[in-house]
Symmetry: C2
């Protein structure tokens, strides 16, 4: 089964992201707006219990962090995905690192660029058309994230939450 770990931003940010995703993101109906912290990995139902226990240990060492977005950016030309760029604070990078140190990681060498996707799977002309518009509108948010969610994927591609974890590390 496929799993991943994400943070969901506040309803306000999710609603704003969805106003774009509804039109520009074919994954719109599969998952609500999110920032991936540990990318998709495969595990069976027994393995995931071990992973969940390890995640529970990791979050004990991390306190709530600030999710700050400052602008709209794009992964083009690597892939035509547009996103709210999330500031890669030391807290967030450390959290990512600790979660990826848990077994069943996706490609460990992939650079972590924290983001909330708002548009993807477009062809280049679509991308080049809407990117300047979205960039101009921008995305300035700042809020506290105090929990992570371990999700799994159903056969139709949609994601269900398996468990939430509070970032309960001491100040």
């Amino acid at each position: 089964m496929k799993y991943g770990i994400v943070a969901f931003p506040s309803k306000k940010v999710q609603d704003f992201a969805n106003s774009y995703r509804k039109r520009y993101d074919p994954h719109y109906s599969l998952i609500t707006p999110h920032m991936t912290i540990k990318g998709v990995f495969e595990a069976d139902e027994k393995e995931i219990k071990t992973v969940a226990e390890q995640v529970a240990q990791v979050v004990k060492n991390h306190k709530p962090f600030t999710l700050k977005t400052s602008k709209v950016s794009s992964f083009a030309p690597v892939t035509n995905a547009i996103y709210f760029k999330v500031e890669p604070t030391n807290e967030l990078l450390a959290l990512h690192q600790d979660l990826n140190a848990i077994e069943f990681s996706d490609e460990a060498n992939y650079t972590f660029v924290p983001h909330i996707t708002i548009a993807q799977k477009m062809n280049s002309s679509e991308h080049d058309d809407i990117y300047p518009q979205l960039k101009m509108i921008g995305a300035e948010f700042e809020e506290e994230i105090d929990r992570l969610h371990l999700l799994y994927q159903l056969e139709d591609g949609s994601w269900t939450v398996y468990e939430t974890f509070r970032l309960s590390g001491a100040e």
Copy 2:
């Protein structure tokens, strides 16, 4: 903001339910297959913290329960919704009662009929057409549910998980 408390069945049951929901349930893309345990209620962001604390207390007094579905049933003529009927065990009814005793309940007098919806918002002729087919195929599942999920609704109608709660009551 709108909140609710549900249990998600296993991936197997969700995949099976989705094979129908994809065609017959307009809420298909808003939430994955679930059994509602505390129906929709309104709360603001401060109130929900209190509710979450109370839910955390309730789950301490309840152990994991068996979710057993035996057949496909329908709420018609009250409403044209078809569902997997979930056996209303004493454990489940007690859990429902304790969760509904928390403030911000929906109509307390509404009878609790545990179910997993697979089709809804049909007109009567559609309903009468597909109901016998689904009924014949049936839905026999039995599994353990060890956690609940507190969800909130976004402006577009989709649901995000706020927090999961383990049913950690002693045997």
